[in-house]
Symmetry: C2
Subunit: 444 residues, 2 copies
């Protein structure tokens, strides 16, 4: 491979501490974020950010799990989505300059590592432009693995620690493939540096046939498309690859999209971002009983914040002067995607047999990778059931539903869209804690 340097940016957010800060090894100090521009005063955790070169290569710690978070796309930024509007500790205000704390950040339960993946996404780059046009599942997994190996050299305190991978949407491909690679590389090693224990994926692309089947049924059963388009989608798409559909299938997908109209398919029952949406700002804090209000325009603020020079400096990002602005998703990476296996289910079978913990969750108001797609895909695994479908509870209210299979736990989050921790932050943190403990969701 005559590929040039591919450098991936990662953001590490460690667990909140009330202990006096321990001194970090000197070689990590270069990655330490002193202060993010606009951050609130009450920050009691450490965070680090920097590049790891995955083709050539190069921590202070708490005794907590390390969790790698990946967003999908393909081509979307884990810093823009995962860190900034989902499971990270900071949310960006509408001014695009200041931050506030997410009180349901997952770093209350684990050390979080956000990776901009693959090269070409967010701040991650390659000096070989051709790399952006030749992205694919296999290279993404190899680079992410190389990243982890090198990153653990820089932050050796995280070696041997329980390690988990989490992700959403097309990361439903990244996560199991990376897990499989780690599993294979560690097989037979007594005490592996990357001590993989399990993974959790949400609204995850999993199996093209069953995902298509469930997605079309979801669109119809949620009243988004006509009877005839429902029929034609099943006729023309079911045996296609989701990343490389046939022209006939694309025609019907476009027809479905025009029938759906100008909705937010990622969250059917919340307001889309528009000119009047900003009226809602800040209500979440002032009127806590309106817990379902959220700001649908967060992406706009990310696009301001992460292009501020002082923010890039604080993040040790864009040190090479990338020729394009930071974006939430790269169109190039997304459009030129090469290999995309049609099913992750063989990997599920393999890793379940190997004792890797697998949890799958689904926000049930997402029309992009909907709950029905996930139900069909998981059902196709034909795993024995340990606990049948049941509602799980949070403060006496139904938080969603769950089914525990032998080797896999499926959890839905009621009323949440594609980005579950954005729409249902408290319920998502409960889910994450139960995943880490590997205990079923609460029945009361």
């Amino acid at each position: 491979m005559a590929r040039g340097l591919a450098a991936l940016l990662a953001l590490l957010v460690s667990v909140s501490v009330s202990l006096p800060a321990a001194a970090a090894p000197a070689d990590q100090e270069g990655d330490r974020i002193r202060e993010l521009p606009g951050q609130p005063p009450n920050v009691d955790f450490s965070h680090y950010s920097g590049y790891v070169t995955v083709n050539q290569a190069r921590g202070r710690a708490l005794f907590y799990w390390l969790v790698l978070w990946l967003n999908g796309g393909p081509g979307c930024s884990s810093v823009g989505y995962g860190a900034s509007e989902e499971v990270g500790p900071f949310r960006i205000r509408p001014d695009g300059k200041t931050l506030y704390l997410n009180k349901h950040s997952w770093n209350k339960a684990a050390n979080l590592l956000f990776l901009e993946s693959p090269a070409g996404v967010g701040f991650s780059y390659s000096n070989t432009t051709m790399d952006l046009y030749t992205g694919g599942d296999a290279k993404t997994a190899l680079d992410a693995y190389a990243f982890l190996v090198n990153w653990l050299e820089r932050f050796p305190q995280y070696k041997y620690r329980e390690f988990y991978i989490a992700g959403e949407s097309y990361a439903g491909h990244y996560v199991p493939q990376l897990a499989k690679l780690i599993y294979e590389k560690s097989k037979g090693i007594q005490n592996p540096a990357i001590n993989l224990k399990g993974f959790v994926v949400g609204n995850a692309v999993t199996d093209d046939y069953n995902d298509y089947l469930g997605t079309f049924e979801y669109w119809w059963s949620h009243g988004l498309i006509s009877d005839s388009t429902y029929h034609n989608l099943k006729k023309t798409c079911l045996f296609d690859s989701s990343e490389h559909p046939s022209p006939e299938c694309v025609k019907n997908l476009n027809l479905a999209s025009s029938e759906e109209g100008n909705i937010d398919p990622y969250s059917l029952y919340t307001k889309p971002c528009n000119s009047s949406a900003s009226l809602k700002l800040g209500l979440g804090g002032r009127y806590p009983w309106l817990s379902r209000a959220y700001d649908p325009c967060t992406e706009r603020y990310s696009n301001i914040y992460y292009n501020l020079p002082e923010v890039q400096t604080a993040l040790h990002a864009n040190t090479t002067g990338i020729k394009y602005p930071w974006k939430t998703c790269s169109d190039i990476v997304g459009s030129y995607w090469a290999d995309s296996p049609r099913s992750m289910l063989p990997i599920y079978h393999e890793l379940i047999a190997a004792g890797i913990r697998i949890w799958v969750f689904s926000g049930d108001t997402d029309a992009v990778v909907p709950i029905t797609a996930t139900r069909y895909s998981i059902s196709a695994l034909k795993l024995p059931t340990l606990m049948n479908w049941y509602p799980w509870y949070d403060h006496g209210k139904v938080g969603g539903w769950s089914q525990v299979y032998k080797g896999l736990t499926l959890v839905t989050v009621a009323g949440a869209g594609h980005e579950v921790p954005l729409h249902r932050p408290r319920q998502a943190l409960i889910l994450f804690r139960h995943f880490l403990k590997d205990t079923p969701m609460p029945t009361q």
Copy 2:
């Protein structure tokens, strides 16, 4: 029929006027509501309420359509639901004593007549207690027809006017059956007193087989029930009557209910009424951008308000001293329901052929008579399509979807539950106006 007196209470709300009030004929003055206890000062419409005896029997007007509204159950009150939390002009405050105006009341477009139907529901009563235990579709239609004939004698200014029937839920049975009866009684009459032009039903029980099929699919596709219960429901219920299911079917329905847990099946994505729900009160008015907030506890306030002696006096209700309190739904009437035809579709065919306008609407977040049930039922009519499934718009936002068939228009309301005008009042009024004009929902 040796049945005793059955008296039905009706509430008439006429269209808002800015004209000087015309003098109403003297025989209607007894029904005029001078002032409802707790009503706001700015009331610019007339309303009347009183009993019409349908076994023996015994109006000022504006040039507007007359619309009869019916709630379902069977056994639920059109005053408690339709008038007080859906399409009527007044809503009840949490104190159970004062009222505020519903700015999207359907009396902005037509004169509304709310009928407590059948006898035994709400304030409607029978001196023959056995009547409450022998309710059914046929008697309900006959009594409602007798009511209308007698009521038009008291309010003759509404005779010969364009007349429509509207209703929801089990009124999906009442409405077409009453329409058919009126149609048959008027056939061949040049200028009928009840000048039936059409009907509109929402989240309406329509055809038991297709309703069951669609309801089970909705429960599964919305993540409420297990794969196995979904399978078993289809196996045991599909050929049953919805009002008289078999013990096997009932067993699986109960299983489904326990899997669903403590949710509000009438509106999946809003908060159920509980101790903290009252925190939301009044926000709708003070923070208009929070248009999706609504008060889920309205029924509680109705139960206070309509049992106040001064309210009953103002309504000319309960003049005979009914032995039980006013309730939103009568358990007796609901439990002892006799005849319930399995399908309204033959009546649809008959009335479409007769040129009666039929609109069907569906709030798409109702799990009780869900959108999928309605889609299957309407699809079973096999009507030619004039406009295929398309999103309709309100202020640039998708209000729902619609399909125009030859003789029938289907409209969904996005994000609305079982009581569409409660959850989406503005969109419901738009729908009602388009129904009255018989023009398709707006494409922009």
